[in-house]
Structure formats: structure tokens, C-alpha cells
Amino acid sequence: MLTIRGFSKSYKGGKKAVHNLNLTVEQGDIYGFIGHNGAGKTTTIRAVVGVMDFEEGEIEIDGISMKKDPLACKSRIAYIPDNPDLYDHLTGIQYLNFIGDLFNVSRKDRELLIAKYADAFQLTPHLGDLISGYSHGMKQKLAIISALIHKPKLLVLDEPFVGLDPKAAHTLKTIMAEVCREGSAIFFSTHVLDTAEKLCNKIAIIKEGRLISEGRTEDVKGENSLEDVFMELIDHG
């Protein structure tokens, strides 16, 4: 579903943020992408979803090159950044309808899916309110619903659990498992190692722009906890 081959990204001034990164996310995978602050997670994610230009390497979504056909790639992806700033001047339902229009979701499908996910996140009564009046958690929920209503093949989430209350976090985990069972894949970054360990079937650890460990979760962590492995790799890897 997602293939990254030899991806490198240098910022102005020559500093390499990501160096020769290779990974593959397959259909049905919940793929955790972990690393300390400034390790290169967000840079990689931004390149994967096509909001950041890159020169070196290749990124393919569902076999389509992000460089050659970005629109086809983007129509298969849902992206939620770490701090989703949404249009404050729209109401929740106006925003969801707007996203539905951009992703060409049929009227029937969007009504069905908005009702389903808004109910799951207990956001339906607030959909008529302006987003400017939403709390951080409510904005996060709205961003998640907007990501789900166009049935993406690949969900790319940057720190999706930040700001969610425990019930909403549980709902999101359930939905993540559900969409992957239905054939989608999820690639997400997190600092919550406990969640990553329980939720992900694959894990990649990035340090200073280089992948230092990658594979099936049980292979990466072995007999230890993910936290122990992560600390060991970050300190001595």
C-alpha cells in the first residue's frame, strides 16, 4: 500500500533530515513509526502525503508514484497532522461536507459515514457549531471523521491520540483495527509506546533521520517491552 524507497530529504543549508529511508506498509498493516523529537518522523509523513516536495527516492501509494501522479495518490490517502488546524469559520458539518466534496464522496456514502463516525465519537450534537468553539479534542475527533468518510486506502496519522479523551482514544483504536480488517492500511507516528506495542503489527524506529530498526512488532521488541528496546536503540543504537 505504501512503499518508500531510498527517500532522503535535506533542508536548506544542507542538513539531512531523513537519510535513505526504505519501508513498506502492506494492506491490513497498522504500522507504527516511532522516534524522538526531531528524528524525521513528520518530515517523512509530510513527504508521504504529498505536502512536501522531495528530490531523492521514491514514494508509491497503492503502486502509484507520488512524484508522477500526486492527485491519484492523495485521493487514496487520508492525512491528519499532529495539530490539525481546521477552518474555524465553518461548522463541523460544513467542514465534513467540504472534505466530502473534495474527495468526491457520494451524498449517500457521506451521510452514512458521517453519521456512523460522528456517533462513535459522540460529536453529532456539535456538528452544527462553529469549529472555532470546539475544544482541541473535538477538533481532533472532527479531523479523524473527515479522514474516514472517504474510505482511504492508506491512513497517515501524525500523533493521532494527542488530545483525545480515553473513550475517544479507545474508539479510534477500534476503528483503526476495523478499517485495516476491511483492507486499508495505517501508517502513524506516536510517542505512546504502550499503544504502539499493543496496536501495531509492524514498527519502525527512526533516529536522526535513519531507520535503526524495522519489522514485525514481535521481531523488533523480542522478549522485551517496546519501551526498553526503544530506549536501548536511541541511547546506544
Binding site: 505536502v51 516536495d53 495539530n83 481546521l86 473534495l102 464522496v105 451521510e111 453529532t124 450534537p125
Partner: protein, 532 residues
């Protein structure tokens, strides 16, 4: 006091994006800063030269009647009026609509000091204009009068005080409108409507004043009395600077500083309540799913952009005021014959100029109503939504162009029809009067979006920084004016050529430019948008 300066400095360094350009390692950003600085310097020089020339011409007239002090009075009154007018519709925005409110208010700083820093931001920007106008005027006065050294000692400190009272007056009105609006649920809309009504009342009021003003031929005591009556501080200023009266000098400074201190202290007591009222939307929490309407990506983007436009009073007031002015003028021309208008404006051949230049006159207001030059910058932190969407980026850009045309074209067409009636234009003039402003509307909208793509300002804390002070807005306005000045200048210079031919030529060239810009957006829009 030191906190006021710290907060003011914080706001000012982000203005025009200078700080970003100064600290970036990106050579392109630095080049942009250099070009922007040169453009700004040229603008400053142009205004200063114009002010010097205008002051010199006036001084020559005043010299004959022995009232050179009127030069300082008029220029000071004009500076104050411009300061008041340009501040009144952005005061509410600068005072209350900024993103870092929570951060600032959580700091151990007095509320009145936060208010003071917001007012000082307006003050510093107005001070630049005051210096550009008053320094040349003061120099002309000094050249003609050869005053004593006192003049310079009194002139310079008062220069710093001139913008204070007009700004305070404008911010009082802005704050009162904000305070009143904050008590209603639809506070933003009420704020917008009230500010717009106030500006319209101000324009209509100034028309009435024009009618009562003495003509230039009756210069002297009559003119002095009119100016002093309109703005009493002018008399105090003239007494201080040209008559070297220390009491007037001290009173002027005292009044200016007192107005500033009292305003900041009083507003400081109600500041949080007003801000809360303005920014808190009442959550209904009663929504039930309704049938939704699906539309194309372009329609969805257009609707979103239109909602964005009308959700921001700063955006509407700064870009829509030209259209409001155009409509008022067109309607008022129905009741005033061009001859009467010529007498009123003291331009005897106004009828002839109006018939020839009416398309450019209308286009001037169109050029003032460029919403696209700030539309990308206003996306700010929301830009990720559009960048990650599976929509060709030129569609996004064209939806912004379409909103600009929605703001300008309908009012332009109505105004042109009104002008056709009031000016009694023939078929050729009518056709030009209809076509040229519409072409200018397309040119302004397309040029604005390209300029904003090249000069984006995505990091901002206050919308006013984008819609009023960003480099893209200044450059787009400059390009708009240049495109108007060239055909207008040619009409005056090439007197042997029919003005309509020049208009037609300008229309064809601009239409060609529009076609070129449209193609450029279609071909390079994707790359430029993703490069933001």
C-alpha cells in the same frame, strides 16, 4: 513601561516578514527582502517627493496672502484625517483579533499594557506616513520662512505626537463597535456591518463638508477658520510650531499623551470581557443529521472561500471598501450633474475627463478590492487541508479568483450602468465603460493570486498583518495602480489620440495579460502551491 515596548517590538518585527527574512539562511528569502525593501523605499520616496511638490505649490500660494502657517495646518490636518480613516476600520482587528491572545494574557503583564502595545502598533505604522508627509512639508516651510532654531526644536517632538489623537479617536470607535457587537450572538457580522456603516457615514459626511469649504480663491482667514473648526488641534499645532508658543506646545503633547494613557487604562478594564464576547461562539450542541448536498470540488472550494471572506471583518473592510465607495459615488452621481461635480471639486473640465476616463475611474476601485493578494496567506495553518487534498491546485487558486470576481464584478456592472445613465455616454463609451472595469477585475484577481503565490505570509498572529501589511498586498496594489496610471497618463499626454482608442488598447493588452496569467496558473499553479 518596558513590557509595553517588549510587546510592541514583538508585533512589529513580524510585520512585513522582515524578521523571517533577516534570520533565514535561504538566499531566495533574503532576495525577496531586498526587493521588498527597495519597493518600500521607492514608495516612501514617491510619497515624500509628492508631499514636497504639493507643499511647495501650496506654500507659493499661501506666501502671497502671508499665511504660510496654513501649509503646516493643512498638511497636519490631512495627515491626521488619513491616520484616522485608515485606522478606524482596522482598529477592532488589531485590538481584539489576534491568535496569541491567550499566550499574551497569561503573561505577568498588565492588561492596560497589552492594550497599549496594540495601540502602539497602529501608532508606529501611522508614524511612518506622518513622517513621509510632514517632514517635506516642514522642510518647505523652513525654506520659505527661514524660522528660528525654536522651530526645529518644537517641530520634531510634535511630529511624534501628531498621529496619537487621530489613532486614539479611531480606536475608541473601533473599541466601541467591538464592545457593542460583543453583546450579540452574531458579534462578528454586527461588528462588520457597524464598521461599514460608520465608514459610509464618514464618507457621506466628508461630501457635505466639501460643499461648505471655501474655494481656493478665498484663502486666508476663512480657510484657517474652517481647518481649525474641523480639527481644533491644528490651531494648537500651528500656534506651537510657527508662533513658538510653549503653552500650545506643552498642551498638545499633554493632550496626546493623556488621551493615550486614559484610553489604554479604560479599555484595559473591559478588555477581557470584550474579547471573550467577540471570540466565544455559543455552542448549540443540538445538531441532528440532515440530508447533505454534494457538489464539485470547485463549488465546495468557492463556497468555503466565500464563507472565509465574510467571516472576517478585517478582510471585508480592507478589500470591500473600494466597492462600497464605488457604489456610493455612482449613486450620488445620479443626483449630481457632472457640471455641479466639477464646480464642487474645482475641476472645470471634469465632464470631459469623466467621459474619457470613467472606465479607469471605476477600475481604480476594482484595483482597491483585490481579495486574492491575501487569500493564500490567510490559509495560514489551514494550508495542509488544501495541500493534501486530491484536487488540482489550479482549481483551488481559481476558486479564490472566482470569489474576488464575485466581490467586484456585480457591483462594478451595477455602478457602470448607473454611470452610463448619469454621464449619458454614447454606445462606444458605454461599451468601454462596461468592458474595461470587468477586464481590470479579472486582471486584479489573477495578478493578486500570482503575487500571493510568490510572496506568501503564512505565519501570522493577526489577520490585519496579512490583509493590510503583507508584502503581497502592497505589491499587488502597486501593480494595480501602475496598470491604471499608464493608460491615464497616455490619455493626458497623447491629446491628439482619441481617448477611447487608448482605453481599447489598454483593455486588449490587459485581456492578453489575463489570458497569460490564467495559463500560467494552470501550468505552474501546482508547483507554486506545493512550494508554499
Amino acid at each position: 513601561m518596558v513590557n509595553i515596548w517588549r510587546l510592541t517590538k514583538l508585533q512589529l518585527i513580524s510585520t512585513f516578514g522582515f524578521n523571517k527574512a533577516l534570520h533565514t539562511r535561504d538566499a531566495k528569502e533574503r532576495r525577496k527582502l531586498l526587493l521588498l525593501s527597495i519597493a518600500l523605499l521607492l514608495g516612501v520616496l514617491m510619497i515624500a517627493v509628492f508631499s514636497f511638490g504639493y507643499s511647495y505649490a501650496m506654500a507659493t500660494a499661501f506666501e502671497q496672502i502671508g499665511r504660510l502657517d496654513l501649509l503646516l495646518a493643512i498638511m497636519m490636518a490631512v495627515t491626521s484625517a488619513v491616520g484616522f480613516f485608515t485606522t478606524v476600520y482596522k482598529a477592532g482587528g488589531v485590538l481584539f483579533s489576534y491568535k496569541d491572545y491567550d499566550l499574551l494574557m497569561s503573561l505577568p503583564v498588565k492588561t492596560s499594557h497589552v492594550v497599549a502595545s496594540r495601540v502602539l502598533q497602529l501608532y508606529v505604522l501611522n508614524l511612518f506616513f506622518t513622517l513621509m508627509v510632514m517632514l517635506p512639508a516642514g522642510a518647505v516651510y523652513a525654506l520659505k520662512v527661514r524660522p528660528e532654531a525654536y522651530y526645529y526644536l518644537l517641530f520634531v517632538p510634535l511630529l511624534l505626537c501628531i498621529p496619537l489623537i487621530p489613532i486614539i479617536a479611531a480606536t475608541v470607535i473601533g473599541a466601541l463597535i467591538s464592545w457593542f457587537s460583543s453583546r450579540f450572538r452574531a458579534s462578528r457580522m454586527i461588528n462588520l456591518v457597524l464598521t461599514l456603516l460608520f465608514v459610509i457615514a464618514l464618507i457621506l459626511g466628508s461630501f457635505t463638508l466639501d460643499g461648505n469649504e471655501p474655494e481656493l480663491a478665498d484663502l486666508g482667514t476663512g480657510l484657517a477658520e474652517t481647518i481649525f473648526k474641523l480639527y481644533p488641534l491644528t490651531e494648537l499645532y500651528v500656534d506651537a510650531v510657527s508662533a513658538y508658543r510653549m503653552d500650545a506646545f506643552l498642551l498638545f503633547i499633554l493632550l496626546s499623551v493623556l488621551a493615550f494613557v486614559v484610553f489604554c487604562t479604560v479599555l484595559g478594564t473591559r478588555y477581557k470581557a470584550i474579547h471573550t464576547g467577540l471570540t466565544t461562539s455559543r455552542a448549540g450542541g443540538k445538531y441532528t443529521m440532515q440530508p447533505l448536498k454534494a457538489s464539485t470540488a470547485f463549488q465546495a472550494l468557492y463556497r468555503k472561500e466565500l464563507r472565509r471572506y465574510f467571516s472576517s471583518s478585517n478582510y471585508v473592510l480592507n478589500t470591500g471598501i473600494g466597492m462600497v465607495l464605488l457604489l456610493i459615488m455612482s449613486v450620488s452621481l445620479l443626483f449630481t450633474s457632472p457640471e455641479q461635480l466639477g464646480q464642487l471639486a474645482d475641476i472645470p473640465q471634469l465632464q470631459r475627463y469623466l467621459n474619457t476616463l470613467a472606465p479607469l475611474f471605476v477600475s481604480l476601485f476594482v484595483a482597491l478590492s483585490c481579495t486574492t493578494s491575501s487569500s493564500i496567506s490567510l490559509e495560514g495553518n489551514n494550508l495542509w487541508i488544501l495541500r493534501s487534498s486530491p484536487v488540482p491546485k489550479h482549481i483551488i487558486l481559481l476558486s479564490k479568483v472566482a470569489v474576488n470576481l464575485t466581490i467586484t464584478v456585480p457591483i462594478t456592472v451595477v455602478s457602470c450602468v448607473l454611470l452610463m445613465i448619469s454621464l449619458g455616454t454614447g454606445w462606444a463609451d458605454s461599451l468601454l465603460l462596461f468592458m474595461i472595469p470587468v477586464i481590470y477585475a479579472c486582471y486584479t484577481a489573477l495578478m493578486g493570486i500570482i503575487v500571493n503565490l510568490k510572496l506568501p505570509k503564512l505565519e501570522w498572529t493577526n489577520e490585519v498583518q496579512v490583509v493590510k501589511q503583507s508584502a503581497a498586498v502592497l505589491v499587488a496594489m502597486l501593480l494595480g495602480f501602475i496598470s491604471l496610471i499608464i493608460p491615464a497618463g497616455l490619455s493626458f499626454v497623447l491629446t491628439s489620440v482619441d481617448g477611447r482608442v487608448i482605453m481599447l488598447g489598454a483593455g486588449i493588452i490587459l485581456a492578453g495579460l489575463c489570458a497569460g496569467m490564467y495559463r500560467y496558473l494552470k501550468n505552474a499553479g501546482e508547483r507554486l502551491f506545493l512550494g508554499l
